[in-house]
């Protein structure tokens, strides 16, 4: 009797064992295919075939019902979109990856990725807002250097080199990027000064920015119409004088001010672009 019971127990135990082995076998079988798919998509990503990489990561996500690869594939989809210049899609997938991230380091890394994409697509206000939020959170106090670093980059892309230098100086007083930002800021022309100079002596703002021909023309036009207008007043043709002064003299005077501002802005853009080109081609550190 006891033997029979034991035999039945054995059969029952074997049945469960069989089911268990089959189940484990099937799960690992599926996992293997998902792993294969992940590796294949990652290979496409590494080969910079971003379009196909996105397709294959999406395929992986569609069949990965247990969400094993969800965070890593979201991140790589986001990177693919970023590298393909699809910044809004990149932010969407980085946000999804952040939602599925399991540890603080990953969350911080993904938040910084979102900041970097915002810098690249020139939504620097968003980038700065996100960095301010990170700075306020206590759990990121040990990451303050990185936060300042990306704040500096945000200001570079916002063309505020003085503020960028300030942020980089928080990392180190002789930080390479701080020196570059200071140099760029010093090289830039003061738009206000150019306008003030031209307000006192027409054309002088243009001389300040090195546009001599335009400066001489502005000076000449203003002198001519100023003379004609004053002459009319002297001869007591008041309406004549007012009309010439308003429609010609002031028109050229205002044009002279606008020109001075335009040239200063253009020169500053040129200087900024030279620094950005240096950062793009020669700077070895992390870039957005």
């Amino acid at each position: 009797m006891i033997r029979i019971i034991l035999w039945k127990e054995m059969i029952s135990l074997n049945k469960y064992l069989l089911i268990f082995v089959l189940l484990i076998g099937n799960i690992s079988f599926a996992q293997d295919y998902l792993k294969q798919q992940f590796d294949f998509a990652k290979k496409l990503f590494d080969e910079e075939d971003y379009y196909d990489a996105i397709t294959e990561f999406k395929r992986l996500q569609f069949f990965d019902t247990s969400n094993v690869y969800i965070s890593s594939s979201d991140e790589l989809i986001a990177q693919s979109y970023k590298n393909g210049g699809k910044y809004s899609d990149a932010i969407h997938y980085f946000t999804l990856a952040e939602l599925n991230a399991t540890n603080n380091d990953d969350i911080f890394k993904l938040k910084i990725e979102i900041v970097r994409v915002n810098i690249l697509r020139r939504t620097t206000d968003n980038a700065l807002q996100l960095l301010d939020d990170l700075e306020k959170e206590k759990r990121w106090t040990d990451k303050i250097g990185e936060i300042n670093y990306w704040k500096g980059w945000s200001y570079i892309f916002a063309d505020e080199w003085d503020k960028a230098a300030e942020e980089f100086s928080k990392i180190s007083p002789d930080y390479e990027l701080k020196l570059l930002c200071e140099k760029t800021n010093e090289e830039k022309y003061s738009v206000t000064l150019a306008k003030i100079m031209s307000a006192f002596l027409p054309g002088s703002g243009q001389f300040y920015t090195g546009n001599y021909l335009s400066g001489f023309l502005s000076l000449g036009w203003c002198a001519l119409w100023g003379y004609v207008s004053v002459n009319a007043f002297v001869e007591q043709r008041v309406f004549d004088g007012l009309a010439v002064a308003n429609f010609l003299w002031f028109r050229f005077y205002r044009g002279n001010l606008e020109n001075a501002e335009k040239f200063a802005v253009e020169k500053n853009l040129q200087i900024s672009n030279e620094s950005l080109k240096f950062l793009q081609d020669d700077y070895k550190g992390e870039k957005p």
Binding site: V21, R59, L60, F63
Partner: protein
């Protein structure tokens, strides 16, 4: 012996065969393609559907490919693919309808009118009449036009029809003439009141300055202001003609955009396919 057989079976079950990745089985490719299509990732869905066609003919897939192209606004490709669908397909009627709709979407009005003229099918007659609303020349008979559409939509369509028949254009000839007679009045005629008043003041002022300088025997300045005044005067006439043309182009553009938006909302008065809803 029993134990050995049992263990052998158990062991053999754990051996994984060298089979292709099931994620790429036709069934799974189909599921993934449908997922992409419903997620509006049409281009990727087309690539997946095309893979499936290697395994054999499928009417639904053959129809969904051009629909995806149509939704991506790749109208030439959509037309090409719709025209490949033959009469044996269960989607033949739908594809024919979508083909004509694509012709309308791609602004090929004359081709559509040539193909549908005299067709008695109601859907096609609607498309034909709708194409007249876009066509720069032809205007259909009002009653024939309105009778083909549901009565609930007649008011909206009447509105579009009236605008097509009698667009609120401004005459560029009149604008030029007005500005030649009274500087700036051409601009006021086309509702650019600020520009009109400025042009009137500037032209009058230079005319006065010219007169005043000739009167004071400053002949050089008199001629100078005459020249500038004439430049303003001629520029104003030219500007009024150009502004009228721009105004008319704006009227056309706004009409077309509103009509397209309206028809899009109504799906061009055609039945929607289940998988596109």
């Amino acid at each position: 012996m029993k134990k050995t057989i049992f263990l052998f079976i158990l062991f053999s079950l754990t051996i994984k065969p060298q089979t292709p990745n099931p994620l790429y089985s036709p069934e799974n490719v189909r599921k993934f393609a449908d997922y992409l299509f419903s997620g509006k990732d049409y281009l990727r869905s087309v690539f997946e559907y095309e893979k499936l066609l290697q395994y054999g003919k499928n009417d639904t897939i053959e129809f969904k490919i051009p629909v995806a192209y149509q939704l991506m606004e790749q109208y030439d490709l959509a037309l090409q693919e719709f025209s490949k669908i033959n009469k044996e397909s269960v989607y033949y009627n739908e594809s024919e309808r979508e083909y004509y709709k694509t012709l309308l979407l791609s602004d090929k009005y004359e081709e559509l009118q040539n193909k549908l003229f005299g067709n008695e099918v109601k859907d096609y007659q609607r498309l034909l009449y709708l194409s007249y609303l876009f066509n720069p020349v032809k205007v259909p008979d009002e009653q024939n036009f309105l009778n083909i559409f549901p009565s609930s939509e007649k008011r909206n369509l009447q509105n579009f029809f009236d605008k097509k028949k009698d667009p609120p254009y401004k005459s560029s000839l009149l604008a030029g003439l007005f500005s030649a007679l009274i500087p700036g009045s051409g601009k006021i005629y086309i509702s650019e009141i600020g520009d009109g008043i400025t042009a009137f003041i500037a032209s009058s002022l230079f005319a006065f300055l010219s007169y005043d300088n000739f009167r004071a025997n400053h002949n050089f300045r008199g001629w100078l202001f005459s020249g500038i005044g004439f430049f303003f005067y001629a520029g104003n006439i030219y500007g009024s003609v150009a502004a009228a043309q721009i105004y008319n182009a704006k009227v056309d553009y706004q009409y077309k955009e509103k009509l397209k938006q309206y028809l899009n909302d109504k799906n061009y008065f055609m039945e929607r396919n289940d998988f596109i809803k």
